[in-house]
Amino acid sequence: MKPAPFEYVAARSLDEALAALADAGEGGKVLAGGQSLVPLLALRLARPDVLVDVNQVAGLDRVVVDDHRLVIGALARHRAVELDEQVRRAFPLVSAAAAKIGHVAIRNRGTVGGSVAHADPAAEWPALLLALDGEVEVASPRGRRVVSAGDLYAGYLTTTLEVDEVVCEVRATLPEGRTGTSFLELARREGDFAIVGVAAVLAIEGDEVRHCRLALSGVGSTPVRARGAEELLAGAAADDAAIAAAAREVVEEIDPPGDIHGSADYRRKVAGVLVRRALSAARDEIGRMVA
């Protein structure tokens, strides 16, 4: 379990990192917290020619809450987000999800940008970004651009980013008005990647669902938006029947993979259960706000 040989560059600035990555071309890889990459290196499943360590790059770890908007620097550690009081108040969904990432030791080291870019379909951040209408700002020698979460994921452990692009910042928003959220995961052990995870955002006006965003982890080669269920709920009464119908719709619309922790059929079933529970919890959260 020793990595194959690689060249190591400790970049001191973003420009240095971008230059090193541009030089490395297809063989380059960014090292941030290393919580996924280092095991892959040790198993020789990842074999980069050049590892560009960005941990010394300053200014990429801010966590800012601005009204309904959340801005997180790519190098912010999961633990910093989890424990941030402003995040906890304005984005309880994010705090809850961050707390489910691995274990404390992993969260102390792992970065938000790293997780977003690693594109594990069972991980928390990718699904969270989808549910929060998120986007990422990426930099390359050609300048900066913004990619929406919906356009970011191409397949298993694969993004649509170019090899010389680096995620700099992650941004998310909540809908305005009375909004409830819930993040649930089903994992064999605490800290494991989820068999199925659900991030639910529900905005209610009167007794009617004004807005719903539902994203799932573990049910495809990328994180999955449950658009059919979202549409079904939009404008519907926020009652048990509507929630149950949305959950049934999710079971129909997803096409999960199977592995030793759960077959495709099992994932479909429990995705329905989790969606129902997550939507109910989000609705109940709103109920408590009113009360």
């Binding site: 379990m1 095991p39 198993l43 089903l186 052990r189 605490e190 494991d192 030793i260 759960g262 429990v270």
Partner: protein, 822 residues
């Protein structure tokens, strides 16, 4: 190698109880002497050891489960800078023979005579030269300047395999036409025995009801916290070999090395440094391979197993299928048990009948069953070899038996605790003859136990009546809580012997040397407690040293819940002999009769005249050789004694466990809320250490029950190669564990000790399975396989729900059971 003089050892059995000094430190919750060092990072584990000029080895392992090596080309690897050598199986032919891991644990002639098992010998090559039989089998070794380089070189070796047909299921392996792993054996049956007591067929015929079922226990890996490792140096001039290895059995490793490399025993020193766990597994290819290459190259070589290798090959356990027929009556009394079971031994059955017969010996559990018939088969498949892993057959057979008791309770409509109680061996039946021999050939006799009292103690501890109320309330809130029980027997303190040397230095400090070897269980503390009491010093005065063949001529090692019993007794007897010697010398010094002397806290005093005293150091100085010696005439110098204890047979520990679980019936997820145990391991040396053993064992059993399984696909490829897929329970999954004790001292040894190393791991599969079944009542969900995966449990729940909707409760018979016969 011959066993030590048994005349001396047998004397131990005759140590009269009255000559044993009363316990003062034994039984106390002393803090572990080793912990300050271990928890402050000052332990010395194998990977901490560095020898000047040391090179690093990496092992090439077969990627195919069954094949013939057609071509081998290491030229590119050898061309890599920093690579010293590559050795293949062919390079070892004629130089390092094949081995049988458990080969030194010979089956006793008495056992052969009584049981007559069929055991077909087949040794495992250190490196495969022709055929490979499982994924992970060692094929070649690279020695290089660093482990990194060695692994780079592994990738450059080209091996062509002619792939052969694969069989991964023991039942398929028995079918006609199945691929045969080792042609000379004729088929895939590596061992077979039948053992019985009473007339099972007659009892089954007579029984008002017969239950037929099938139980399976998945394959579990041993997962010591520290992976294995070996470091070997060979002296250029003398050829003497020094080997450090993570083995709980350094003497056994030395014996194998002597035979396999042709070096006299006393020119080999095997040292086991601090160890992070062992699980009782034995010797491995690398234990011989690394010393061999170190000698060939004339340089020290170190190999440290990585976690991938560990999960692949470092002794899996369990993997059994039990097919049972049980006769019972309307009162829930079990009248007959017939169990035909298969142990999936993997590609090499390295331990003859150790696991399978251990299962048979423990099948009866705590129950008084008039007739039993047990048939065990060790079956070969293209998977990694199975070894006795902590529990070694007991968790498997206990899962079967305790599920059976639960099923009988359900079928007869009797409360599961009451049904259990009705079947227990009663105190007035003690000593209870189980009707079959243990695997040492001695007939099994349960000594001093009170099973009904044990069960009552546990029911009080768990507050059974209160739980039933809590359960009913929870159900009204839609939560499904359940309680389950399991009881077990634990034959412990297996022989053939263990020794101790107790020596007092001229400052009065005492050192105990033993062939048992701690790998985390606190022997440095418990043996010091025994020694202190029997010698008349305090535990602080005693240092326990082990894990080095230069300390003591013979040693067996630590496994099979044996060291407290065997090394504990040897230490106690040797310490008593030292005390007698010290008193005799002190009598000379003080010019009184030794019967007038007492030895307490390291000082010898004349009874009634406390001012007349000598210290143990004074006595040791008087015992030193030379002109100042004050030894009584004819006495040999040195204040020391050596004793080998040869147990007549095992001691019988026991325990009863209860699990409280909550089941999510929509997802099949199970959470263990509470776990409670009552154990009887006789006279406890240190209750805190016993409880540590129980806690660790329960965690292992929890994994066995719910999450841990080595999974192979049908083509023989392992699917659980990392900790993302092989799921060890963590502290987050481990519930609060309440441990209580029942103390029925053993009559087998003078100190009343019974073993406790494995019991914790034995109860959880059955207790948790029974609790899940209980939580889901009135649905009739019959769990007959562990680990209980959420997906499988959800299927069982759905089938049970469909069944109860359609025909009023046939339920989900995972076991394919025929239910009762009227």
């Amino acid at each position: 190698m011959t066993e030590p003089g048994t005349a001396n050892a047998r004397a131990a059995r005759r140590v009269p109880i009255e000559s044993v000094r009363p316990h003062q430190f034994v039984g106390q919750r002393l803090r572990r002497k080793e912990d300050a060092r271990l928890v402050s990072g000052k332990g010395r584990y194998l990977a901490d050891l560095v020898v000047p000029g040391m090179r690093h080895a990496a092992v090439l392992r077969s990627p195919v489960p069954h094949g013939r090596i057609a071509a081998f080309d290491a030229s590119e690897a050898l061309a890599l800078d920093g690579v010293d050598a590559v050795f293949t199986g062919r390079d070892l032919l004629g130089k390092v023979g094949p081995f049988v891991e458990g080969g030194r644990l010979e089956i006793s002639p008495v056992f052969l005579d009584k049981v007559g098992p069929e055991v077909k010998p087949h040794a495992m090559p250190v490196l495969a030269a022709e055929d490979v039989h499982f994924v992970g089998q060692p094929v070649a070794v690279v020695v290089a300047a660093s482990r990194y380089l060695a692994e780079d070189a592994l990738e450059l070796i080209r091996v062509d395999y002619e792939e052969l047909p694969v069989v991964t299921d023991p039942e398929a392996a028995l079918a006609p036409g199945a691929p045969v792993l080792h042609g000379h054996l004729g088929d895939n049956v590596a061992a077979h025995f039948v053992v019985e007591s009473g007339d099972v067929d007659a009892e089954l015929d007579r029984a008002p009801h017969v239950y037929r079922g099938r139980f399976e226990v998945g394959r579990q890996a041993s997962n010591a916290m520290e992976p294995r490792g070996v470091l070997a140096t060979s002296d250029d001039g003398t050829g003497d070999l020094t080997v450090w290895c993570t083995s709980a059995r350094p003497h056994l490793v030395r014996t194998f090395l002597s035979e396999m490399l042709g070096i006299p025993l006393d020119r080999i020193r095997v040292i086991s440094p601090d160890m992070g766990g062992s699980f009782g597994t034995g010797v491995f290819s690398e234990d011989f391979l690394i010393p061999f290459v170190a000698r060939e190259l004339g340089r020290p070589v170190r190999w440290v197993e990585d976690r991938s290798e560990n999960l692949l090959v470092t002794r899996h356990g369990r993997d059994q299928v039990h097919l049972v027929e049980v006769g019972y009556d309307d009162d829930g009394r079990i009248l007959a048990l017939k169990d035909r079971f298969l142990v999936d031994a993997g590609a090499y059955n390295q331990y003859a009948i150790t696991v399978s017969y251990n299962a048979a010996a423990h099948a009866r559990n705590q129950f008084d069953i008039p007739a039993v018939r047990l048939e065990g088969l060790n079956v070969l498949t293209n998977k990694a070899p199975v070894a006795p892993v902590r529990g070694a057959g007991r968790p498997e057979v206990t899962f079967m038996m305790d599920r059976v008791v639960d099923i009988v309770a359900h079928e007869t409509g009797i409360d599961p605790v009451e049904c259990r109680r009705r079947n227990l061996v009663r105190p007035e039946q003690m000593p209870y003859h189980a009707g079959i021999p243990y695997r040492d050939g001695v007939d099994i006799v349960y000594d001093r136990a009170d099973f009904p009292a044990q069960l009552s103690q546990l029911c009080d501890l768990v507050d059974y009546a209160a739980f039933r109320k809590e359960q009913a309330e929870a159900r009204r809130e839609g939560r499904r809580l359940g309680i389950g029980f399991s009881s077990y027997m634990e034959g412990s303190g297996f022989g053939p012997h263990e020794g101790a040397v107790v020596r007092v230095d001229t400052n009065g400090h005492v050192t105990v040397y033993t062939g048992a070897n701690a790998h985390g269980q606190g022997l440095a503390t418990t043996l010091a407690q025994v020694c202190a009491d029997q010698l008349g010093v305090t535990p602080e005065d005693v240092t326990v040293r082990m894990g080095d063949t230069s300390f003591i001529p013979y040693g067996i090692g630590t496994f099979a819940s044996r060291s407290a019993v065997t090394a504990g007794t040897a230490t106690g007897v040797a310490a008593g002999l030292v005390r007698e010697k010290a008193l005799a010398i002190a009598a000379e010094l003080l010019e009184v009769s030794s019967s007038d002397l007492e030895l307490e806290e390291g000082t010898v005093r004349v009874r009634g005249t406390p001012s007349r005293e000598v210290s143990l150091g004074d006595v040791a100085r008087a015992a030193a050789p030379g002109p100042r010696s004050r030894l009584p005439a004819g006495m040999e110098p040195v204040l020391e004694a050596e004793h080998y204890y040869v147990p007549p047979s095992v001691t019988w520990s026991s325990g009863t466990h209860a699990a409280v679980v909550e089941v999510d019936e929509e997802t099949g997820f199970v959470r263990v809320l509470r776990y409670l145990t009552v154990d009887d391991c006789g006279q406890m040396l240190n209750p805190t250490i016993v409880e540590g053993q129980v806690h660790g064992g329960v965690a292992l059993g929890l994994g066995e029950a719910l999450t841990e399984e080595v999974i192979y696909d049908a083509t023989g490829q392992p699917l659980t190669g990392t900790y993302m897929d092989y799921l060890l329970p963590t502290t987050a999954e481990t519930p609060p564990i309440t441990v209580a004790h029942q103390v029925c001292p053993s009559e087998v040894n003078p100190f009343g000790i019974k073993g406790c190393g494995e019991g914790g791991a034995v109860g959880p599969p059955a207790a948790i399975a029974n609790a899940i079944v209980d939580a889901l009542r009135p649905l009739d969900v019959r769990i007959s396989r562990v680990p209980i995966r959420p997906e499988r449990l959800l299927e069982l729940i759905e089938v049970a729900k469909a069944g109860s909707a359609h025909d009023g409760g046939v339920g989900a018979l995972e076991d394919g059971g025929a239910g009762s016969r009227s």
